[in-house]
């Protein structure tokens, strides 16, 4: 057996040297390669898991925010529709009121104009009557050559005014 082993080149010093080399590789790789790399891989894995969890959280937040925004939009739409309806009704009421006011005002203006016209017509007629009366008095005094007193003038004026009114 020993002969076979020696034939294969086994020798204790060589064997121990190789064992020491293997142990050095084992310990150094374990300490400086596998440890840090596995720790880094675990850190990266946990970061990825954390990131995925955050993404899920953000997705949920986004969904909630969208729901909130949709709710707010619905409320705003309802408010807007209500305001438009109210404004339309209010505008309709104001328009009716203003129209009525305008009609009333126009009627008043027409009444006033009509009254003013009537008064002016009466004034003109009175003045015309007075002028006509004066003309009649002047003509009468010139025709008769008589100076008319106030009583005559008053009577002639009244008769003339009575004739003109007819």
């Amino acid at each position: 057996m020993e002969g076979i082993i020696e034939q294969f080149g086994f020798a204790w010093p060589k064997f121990i040297a190789q064992v020491i080399i293997v142990l050095i590789v084992y310990f150094v790789l374990s300490k400086y390669a596998f440890g840090p790399v596995l720790a880094m891989l675990n850190a990266r894995r946990s970061r990825i898991e954390e990131g995925e969890a955050n993404i899920k959280k953000i997705d949920a937040e986004v969904a909630r925010a969208e729901e909130r925004i949709q709710g707010m939009l619905d409320d705003a739409n309802r408010d807007a529709e209500r305001l438009i309806t109210e404004a339309r009704e209010s505008a309709e009421a104001v328009r009716g009121q203003k129209t009525q006011e305008a009609v009333n005002e126009a009627q008043q203006i027409i009444e006033k104009a009509r009254e003013a016209s009537r008064l002016e017509h009466e004034s003109s007629m009175n003045e015309l009557k007075r002028d006509f009366g004066r003309l009649v008095i002047d003509a009468t005094s010139k025709v008769t050559g008589k100076v008319l007193d106030d009583g005559d003038q008053k009577r002639i004026n009244e008769e003339t005014a009575g004739q003109v009114a007819l």
């Binding site: 082993i5 034939q7 294969f8 080149g9 086994f10 020798a11 010093p13 060589k14 064997f15 040297a17 190789q18 064992v19 080399i21 293997v22 142990l23 050095i24 590789v25 084992y26 150094v28 790789l29 374990s30 400086y32 390669a33 596998f34 840090p36 790399v37 596995l38 880094m40 891989l41 850190a43 990266r44 970061r47």
Partner: protein
Amino acid sequence: MEIPTSTLFDFAFSPVLAAGGINAPEIPHLGWFTNSILVAIIVTVGVLLFTRMATKKMELIPGGKQNFVEFLIEFLYGQVEGIVGKHVAPKAFPLLATIFIFILSANWFGLLPGVGTVGWGEGNGGFLSLDSVHAPLLRPATADLNMTLALAVVFMVVWVYLSVSELGVWGSLVHIFGPKGGLQGMMKYALMPIFFFVGIIEVISIFFRPASLALRLLGNIFAGETLLVVMGGLGEQVLGAKGILGFLTSVALPIPFYFMEILVGALQATVFTLLCGVYIKLSTSHEEEGEH
């Protein structure tokens, strides 16, 4: 003045062969310090320097070397975890990964030019004029029984530690000698002697594991090295090619076998690591299994 029969020109077109015996020769004037120990040291320094450079300033977003080392370690960890299970993987991984990386590096280092062909030997005189090398300066570390046995023995020591730490001393003994397959009642006691006998065979097989692991790796790598040397000298020694033709055949004929040896190097590293992983799995499993 006598002109040397071998010139630099002759050397340049002459294959220098070396395979030697299965035992790794000592480097002249260095006592027991063999060429395989030298290669083991070179491989160790290379592996450690590379991993140190890759892991010295680790960043969350890895660069080139860090990325490669992380890929390798993550891949190996996944494989180890698949074999030994999640519970034992953190303890078993450093050893199994070390074994795989070291054996792979050592195997592939043996394929580099100059390994086995530069060294001490016989020539016709003159510098760089050897006809053959008897004591190469470099020899694949895994083509030496001392190295393969060292790997196997270190594994067995860690294996015993893992097994006992996982199952305890009594649990390990029960695991080896106790009834398996969940037997109960009379059947369990009736079959106990058989399982005890199977346990004895199991212990013998455990004692042979280091030898089987070491000799399998040694045999494959040494055979590969010998094959490359034989193919290198085939043109000159068998076909009678001389000069430039001999040189060309010494370069061309081994090329296909170099590709094969790349594969064999990776395969043997995988086989060694895989068997170690299976041994750990079998001895640390908490379930009753009727394997081995």
